[in-house]
């Protein structure tokens, strides 16, 4: 009972904030709704038992990436930017058509898989000590190479971002 109310209210908040992100007039309001969306998604992760992922979502996504967006919005709005409206109607119709098609596909997949449940692969035993230790052990033993590649990617992205955004080299 508690789980159902928790899930449905969070789902409503996530989708509501998502709609506000794409429909707000002011860009700063869009960014604020995005932060609220990310915080609600972090709560959803907590409900799923992924506590490390929830904290990383708040720390990195809501506390780092969206701050970067806010910085860029502020730096751009220093000169004042009006947003021109193209032809929103045709694009909106195309968008709704595409999304209805994909939603129908996904619902078909869900209904099909509910009727034909497949084999459950054997899950490896969870390590003692909880979620963070399990994720950490997996990251550093089985998935060490993707971990190192991801850190190289972040290093290259950092250097590239500094280089691209500098005023003069």
């Amino acid at each position: 009972m508690f789980e159902a109310t928790f899930f449905y209210s969070l789902a409503a908040l996530v989708l509501g904030f998502g709609v506000m992100v794409i429909t707000a007039r002011n860009t700063v309001h869009s960014v604020l709704f995005l932060v609220a969306n990310f915080l609600c998604v972090a709560l959803l992760f907590l409900g799923l038992g992924a506590e490390f992922l929830a904290i990383i979502q708040v720390l990195v996504y809501a506390g780092g990436i969206v701050v970067l967006y806010l910085f860029v919005v502020m730096l751009v709005s220093l000169k004042g930017v009006p947003e021109g409206q193209g032809s929103p109607r045709r694009r909106a119709q195309l968008g709704f058509l595409m999304s209805a098609a994909v939603l129908a596909e996904i619902s078909a997949i869900l209904v099909y898989s509910a009727r034909h449940p497949g084999n459950v692969p054997a899950a490896p035993a969870a390590l003692q000590g909880g979620n963070t230790e399990t994720v950490g052990m997996l990251l550093y033993t089985n998935y060490l190479v993707p971990f190192e590649v991801a850190s190289m990617l972040l290093l290259v992205a950092m250097i590239g971002a500094i280089l691209l955004a500098k005023k003069e080299i």
């Binding site: 002011n26 700063v28 309001h29 604020l32 932060v35 506590e51 490390f52 904290i55 708040v58 720390l59 809501a62 506390g63 780092g64 701050v67 806010l70 910085f71 502020m74 730096l75 220093l78 909880g130 963070t132």
Partner: protein, 339 residues
């Protein structure tokens, strides 16, 4: 029923009241200590030796006129002080004041929640409080606060990286992320972690100074530099909320430093049996005493040191503290593997 709902609510009520009263009295403490350092007396008129001064301040701020700048974003203008204050308050949820105490015959643990990712929780809450400053600078619809807000938040997120790396080496030493677990690890090892990891201790304190916009890193709110910084256009209770948020952040940083480095609620030399005569002092008194020492050092540093320039500040954060943190982490890892 009683234990899952009523006791935590009572604890939250008591803790919030205690925090809000102590941040108002921290204003008085700061003014008095800085005055004594400068060989003068500080507030003396209101109440005996000025002890009712915070109440006078609160009444003045509540009764001030509520000014909003023209063409400012009303929602964001009101939201910014709230976004500053709320993370400072909810970070107290994982701070352990004592393992347990007997109140009216019940054994009550003196912390609101012991999540097994307590330290990461505090870190993520600190990174949310950056938004208050950026939004305050933006919502004032004026050039000075906007630039000041951007500079202040750039400072905050730079020092966040240094603090995070230091906290990782602390987690490696203690072996757990939960705050109660870290104090237990200090009890088992018999030494406060300030002696095991002195570099991390000093660096975390410096990072905490920068995170809370305190001197000597208080350029964003220095009046001589940016006409008041990001809270230029704020007056009355909203301005008060910014300052209370800063003091509450100071208390959070002091409490975290106490838990991580000074043994939390443990008495000095917790494993030495000869000193167990000191055990009549309950653990939370030790905790509050140590936190008070840290707060005093915060105020002492403010009264003594001059302000950093902004580029010196950023250089310190990126070029000194982060390499030091990584070196500390590597040395900690090597020592943990070898021993």
């Amino acid at each position: 029923m009683l234990e899952t709902y009523v006791v935590p609510l009572l604890k939250i009520a008591v803790l919030l009241n205690a925090v809000l009263v102590s941040v108002t009295y921290m204003v008085l403490l700061e003014r008095k200590v800085i005055a004594w350092v400068q060989v003068r007396l500080g507030p003396m008129r209101v109440g005996p030796y000025g002890t009712l001064q915070p109440i006078a301040d609160a009444i003045k701020l509540l009764l001030k006129e509520d000014i909003t700048p023209a063409r400012a974003d009303r929602w964001v203008f009101t939201l910014a002080p709230i976004v500053s204050m709320v993370p400072a308050l909810i970070a107290f949820a994982v701070i352990p004041f004592d393992r347990e105490a007997r109140i009216f015959g019940y054994r009550v643990p003196l912390y609101i929640a012991d999540v097994n990712i307590g330290l990461l929780y505090i870190l993520s809450i600190t990174s949310i409080s950056v938004y208050g400053i950026i939004l305050a600078g933006y919502a004032s619809n004026s050039k000075f606060p906007l630039l000041a807000g951007l500079r202040a938040s750039a400072q905050l997120i730079s020092y966040e990286v240094a603090v995070t790396i230091m906290l990782v080496s602390m987690v490696a030493t203690a072996g757990t992320l939960s705050m109660v677990g870290i104090v237990d690890a200090q009890y088992r090892s018999g030494l406060w972690y300030a002696f095991v990891q002195p570099v991390a201790f000093v660096t975390l304190f410096i990072g905490g100074l920068a995170e809370t916009n305190r001197a000597p890193f208080d350029l964003p709110e220095a009046e001589q530099e940016l006409t008041g910084g990001f809270h230029t256009e704020y007056s009355g209770m909203r301005f008060a909320l910014f300052f209370l948020a800063e003091y509450a952040n100071m208390i959070v940083v002091s409490a975290v430093a106490t838990t991580l480095f000074m043994g939390g609620w443990l008495r000095p030399f917790p494993n030495v049996g000869a000193l167990s005569v000191l055990d009549f002092v309950p653990g939370w008194i030790w905790f509050l005493g140590k936190t008070f020492v840290f707060l005093y050092v915060f105020i002492w540093i403010r009264a003594t040191l001059p302000r950093y320039r902004y580029d010196q500040l950023m250089r310190l954060g990126w070029k000194v503290l982060i390499p030091l943190g990584i070196a500390n982490l590597v040395v900690t890892a090597i020592v943990k593997v070898l021993l």
